[in-house]
Symmetry: C2
DNA sequence: GCAATTTCTATTGATATCAATGTATATAGT
DNA sequence: ACTATATACATTGATATCAATAGAAATTGC
């Protein structure tokens, strides 16, 4: 008898075909590339666009809620802010209501960049939705929402 | 009159709620955390699990098709292989049929690690599917597949 | 008011992701 | 065979992602 560990090839195919995590990572990579390419002329990645858009509020939000909204680790958010701060598109200011925390505020330059990127997002997203069967976009949004 | 650029808050909310790319990134992050946590005792991340599982084939595959299967950049794959090679779980060998290319092969140790991780994946994925409404998992898989 | 706990964020180290570029080999056109 | 093009992969540099840890300030229990 053999001690060799064998995972049946059929099992491999099953995991490949059914793993929701793998499917989500694949789709996330593909969509990231799509929007990164489209937004490149505006100088933003898809993540930077989403982050900056989430900061366009009447009142600058603290970091915690923004990280939660984007379903990302707080340390990831800290790192993601660095290049945006460096370019002068986002200010990280003290929170007068809570001296532990910071507030994230778009600068006027940041708003200019973001508004230039907005029509690119609109056309790219419209083309994407059009490429999906009727109704699938909304259904997909709801299904994804249930995971995050 | 003012030159200030203003993106209406309503536009921000619309982008947040409808952007498929953002929804996909959020879901991908959430599922990555779920499986990373579950697989940690096995010493694998979700991405390493998917990658190693994709290498469990009758014949060791070249890098290109593996990168395509995972919908990742080829340079990402090269980088992802580094820690697996270092730990002796994957061998990168010359391709006798094409001297430009390499073949990726699980080592016996790699198969041991992978087979230990497999039941963790099974239980984690079963629990995940159970948490979704009946039929949504399969539908979601198909919708995600259409994107990647 | 004080101590214990919790919350908010930063830092460090490891891995993941991709663009840009370069090198080697294979393939196609002639 | 020769040249031009295409393919396969590595390297570098920038950003993204998270765990582990630590510090500071707020909150809670008393």
């Amino acid at each position: 008898m053999s001690n060799a560990i064998e995972i049946p090839y059929g099992t491999t195919l099953l995991v490949r075909d059914t793993c929701l995590c793998l499917h989500a990572q694949r789709a996330a990579r593909a969509l990231a590339r799509l929007f990164d390419d489209a937004l490149r002329p505006a100088g933003l990645t898809n993540g930077q666009f989403s982050l900056m858009m989430s900061l366009n509020r009447p009142e600058p939000p603290p970091m915690g809620p923004v990280a939660k909204l984007l379903a990302m680790d707080q340390t990831t958010l800290t790192a993601a802010l660095k290049p945006l701060q460096r370019r002068g598109w986002v200010d990280v200011i003290a929170n007068p209501k809570d001296r532990r925390g910071r507030l994230l505020r778009l600068t006027p330059e940041g708003r200019t960049v973001l508004s230039a990127a907005l029509p690119i997002w609109e056309s790219t997203h419209a083309a994407l939705e059009k490429s999906l069967p009727e109704g699938n976009a909304e259904r997909l949004r709801q299904d994804l929402q249930a995971l995050a």
